[in-house]
């Protein structure tokens, strides 16, 4: 059995779970900046409060799978993206504690909302910078990162950063439309008419620039022509569908979020396949960075047993809080 490949797929699965789940959390967080009404902001935070912790856990799962399964790559990529990772961690931290602190404060709630929104935005931007850096590639000497921590910053990474945030905002408005009533839903409905288009446009520009900046990508896209065409088509159709359905009230409120999920999933599939079979982009393949089968097998047995259970009770937790967020909050 090709254990390194299975471990890489499990890591991609965890990362995709993180991107779609924490993606809507971060999107909702960043959208707080566009909402002046404190009552609506309360509803927006209530829409994500019961589940954010589990959503963020998928990031740890992805990171630790990299450590356990591909320690060589972990030891290269983390120093390479040292600055955006620290920015992301500090931002996620500020945002995570704001959930509790805004709840416990009345006079300073506005300030915690700013921290919450800025943290969500900065975390998304930092993750986008990492995506840009991965496309650029990482300088490696032997088993060690050989570049500078500033290598990841380039004009191109600004574009990828904004694109990722636009993707999270697409998920965020979808989620708010799904969970929100009255003013919250109207707010989501309004922004659903343009954010997915912005995400689509930014992605197209990113793809075009990436193709000219990183010749290795074109080779990979040629090799998997059909899959990429499918992803791009699904991505575009979903974006157009969200925007054209956004104004209609006879369409179920779930549809926008489901289509946003489709956009993110096709995007993640394309991105994952672009780097395949490298785990340190364009330098080290996943097979040469892999742990022994003693370690991979141990992790994968655990993952195989635990993941269905985890998905079951995570699904249950979502089910407990299904439906529209109550106007008086969860308490």
């Amino acid at each position: 059995m090709d254990l390194p490949l299975i471990a890489a797929l499990f890591m991609l699965f965890a990362l995709t779970m993180y991107v779609v789940l924490d993606g809507f959390d971060l999107g909702v967080g960043a959208l707080l900046l566009a909402q002046r009404d404190e009552q609506v902001r309360n509803r927006m935070v209530d829409a994500i409060a019961p589940t954010w912790d589990g959503n963020e856990t998928w990031l740890i799962m992805a990171g630790i799978t990299l450590l356990a399964g591909f320690p060589l790559a972990y030891g290269i990529l983390l120093p390479a993206f040292y600055i955006p990772i620290v920015v992301m961690l500090v931002s996620l931290g500020l945002r995570g504690v704001s959930f509790e602190f805004r709840h416990n404060s009345t006079s300073s709630r506005r300030r915690w909302d700013v921290v919450f929104a800025a943290g969500s935005l900065a975390a998304g931007l930092a993750q986008g910078v990492i995506v840009g850096g991965l496309i650029h590639g990482v300088r490696v000497d032997g088993n060690t990162f050989a570049g500078s921590p500033f290598d990841t910053f380039s004009p191109f990474c600004i574009l990828t950063a904004v694109t990722v945030v636009a993707g999270y905002a697409t998920l965020g408005v979808g989620w708010l439309r799904l969970k929100g009533e009255d003013a919250t839903r109207a707010f989501a409905r309004k922004h659903q008419r343009w954010i997915p288009l912005a995400f689509l446009g930014l992605t197209v520009i990113t793809v075009l620039i990436a193709a000219s900046a990183q010749p290795r990508l074109i080779a990979s896209w040629r090799a998997h022509r059909n899959v990429f065409s499918f992803c791009l088509a699904a991505f575009t159709v979903s974006a157009v569908a969200i925007v054209s359905l956004a104004g209609r009230d006879d369409v179920d409120d779930h549809v926008g979020f489901a289509l946003a999920l489709a956009m993110m999933l096709s995007g993640m599939m394309a991105l994952g396949l672009s780097f395949f079979p490298n785990i340190v982009p364009f330098q080290i393949t996943l097979w040469s960075a892999a742990s022994t089968s003693m370690s991979l097998g141990f992790v994968l047995i655990g993952a195989l047993v635990a993941t269905p259970v985890v998905l079951t009770y995570t699904g249950f937790a979502y089910w407990v809080f299904h439906g529209k967020t109550p106007a008086e909050g969860w308490y």
């Binding site: 409060a49 019961p50 589940t51 912790d53 589990g54 963020e56 856990t57 990031l59 740890i60 799962m61 990171g63 630790i64 799978t65 450590l67 356990a68 320690p71 060589l72 972990y74 030891g75 290269i76 983390l78 120093p79 040292y82 600055i83 990772i85 620290v86 500090v90 996620l92 931290g93 500020l94 945002r95 995570g96 504690v97 509790e100 602190f101 416990n104 060690t144 990162f145 050989a146 500078s148 921590p149 742990s291 022994t292 003693m294 370690s295 141990f298 992790v299 655990g302 993952a303 635990a306 985890v310 009770y313 995570t314 937790a317 407990v320 809080f321 008086e328 909050g329 969860w330 308490y331």
Partner: protein, 469 residues
């Protein structure tokens, strides 16, 4: 910036982020069990005071849990950020252990935390109790795996070198390494003791202020009752941790006890104050209790032990921080034991809630468990130096290829952000304590069949504190 040492900065950054982090899991491991016990008692007895206790501590638990989560995510990446060479050498060993922690514990905690915090109006009381128990179980599983990883770094076993990397030959020996079976209960007891003294200290404050007396008496009774059992167990477990160190990490133990001599004098005093001179390999000053060292450490009147100078200088930890962090933990532990004994005596005479001098001491002791836990961790981690994996890899070989200036900048960023977390946590916790528990409800929440638990709206069960924030 060239005179800054990346190794020192990486160590400071790791030490700062991990020390800050451990404060909050310590509180949440302890409070989670406390909340499960209190909610269980409420379901069993129907006494509304337990609900009051639950609601009050749930809020503080939620804050410490949130800080624990976000500072924990940092730790998942810190291995690679500051010690990437350690990750490359040992990732295949400790990575899977932490992966199991995520799979068995983090998801469990996160899945049921939402129900625990926000689910009262959405699920019935039994299911809510189940969620609390799952969160408490998650904290124990989490501690088990992370203690396995850390204990493996103290007493590595079940691995072999292969092309400059460590590979696992026997997972059972990696997980059940020599120090894990004693260090895990030691840490769990520490966390439970921390919570016991935290809740006792806060209720003692209410009793001193003569407010919320019913709430405070019951909390203090549970807290000090638990403390009596826990500290007794901790005395034995702590002694076992010491014996394991004698066998596997003699350098750490001798540094913690303050002895340099090749062979200590007989009978050996127990040292309390020393002024160590690391380069001279001697103490400039030392003071202790005669005979006590032989009795305690060797279980005989005249026993001796080998001192730190038996270890090559290049393999020695710094004695000063190891000695004093250990003594800090020890003194707090002995104080806890004394207070537990006094509490039994006061309880026997019906004065546990009225002896003001005792309540004042308890207020001061509220954060003592957390401080002692930090002391213990400093002993364990500084005492392991200069090794990152005891005997296998030096900390100096483990550091990331990140420039010192970048490390310094991020260290400052972490210090700033964590100061905000800590200040806000303190301010909000103190404010919650000053505000006190919510008033007693008019009637008890009915409990019923599981069907009703799942669909509370059918049975018309409403949370009677709905809207109370």
């Amino acid at each position: 910036m060239s005179n800054l040492d990346p190794l020192i900065l990486a160590r400071i950054q790791f030490a700062f982020t991990v020390s800050f982090h451990i404060i909050f899991p310590t509180i949440s491991i302890g409070l989670a069990l406390f909340l499960a016990i209190v909610e269980g008692l409420q379901l069993k007895t129907g006494d509304p005071v337990y609900r009051q206790i639950y609601r009050f501590w749930l809020n503080i638990f939620a804050m410490s849990f949130a800080i624990g989560v976000v500072t924990g995510i940092v730790m998942a990446f810190e291995f690679g950020l500051t010690f990437s060479r350690f990750s490359q050498v040992a990732g295949a060993v400790i990575g899977p252990l932490i992966a199991y922690e995520v799979l068995s514990s983090f998801f469990l905690e996160a899945g049921f935390l939402g129900i625990m915090l926000f689910g009262e109006g959405r699920v019935g009381p039994k299911l809510h109790f189940f969620a609390t128990c799952m969160v408490a179980l998650g904290t124990v599983l989490s501690a088990s795996w992370i203690m396995a990883a850390n204990s493996w770094m103290q007493t590595p076993d079940g691995v072999a070198w292969d092309h400059g990397r460590l590979i696992v030959t026997d997972w059972h020996r990696v997980i059940v390494n020599p120090s894990w079976p004693v260090r895990l209960p030691h840490m769990l007891l520490a966390a439970y003791l921390s919570a016991a003294f935290l809740v006792s200290g806060v209720s003692a404050w209410y009793l001193l202020k003569r407010r919320d007396v019913g709430f405070a008496r019951r909390t203090l009774s549970i807290g000090m009752g638990a403390a009596c059992i826990l500290i007794t167990l901790q005395v034995f477990v702590g002694d076992h941790v010491g014996s394991t160190m004698v066998k596997y990490q003699p350098a750490k133990l001798t540094a913690a006890e303050g002895w340099w001599d090749k062979t200590t004098p007989s009978p050996m005093p127990y040292l309390w104050i020393i002024v160590p001179d690391q380069s001279g390999q001697r103490n400039l000053f030392q003071m202790g209790t005669p005979y006590f060292g032989s009795i305690w450490l060797t279980k005989s009147l005249t026993g001796t032990m080998p001192g730190l100078s038996n270890i090559p200088v290049s393999d020695q930890p710094r004695m000063l921080p190891v000695f004093y962090s250990f003594k800090l933990m020890l003194v707090i532990g002995m104080t806890m034991f004394t207070l537990a004994v006094i509490s039994l005596w006061l309880r026997w005479h019906g004065r546990l809630y009225s002896a003001r001098w005792f309540l004042r001491i308890l207020v001061v002791m509220a954060p003592s468990g957390v401080v002692a836990t930090l002391g213990g961790w400093y002993t364990a981690e500084i005492g392991r130096q200069p090794w990152v994996i005891n005997g296998l890899m030096r900390t100096s070989e483990a550091v990331s290829p990140v420039p010192a200036s970048t490390l310094l900048a991020t260290l400052i960023a972490f210090v700033c952000a964590y100061s905000v977390f800590f200040l806000a946590f303190l301010i909000f916790t103190l404010r919650l304590i000053r505000r006190g528990p919510e008033g007693l409800p008019a009637h008890a929440l009915p409990s019923g069949s599981l069907k009703r638990d799942l669909r509370p709206e059918i049975a018309g069960v409403q949370p009677y504190l709905a809207g109370a924030k």
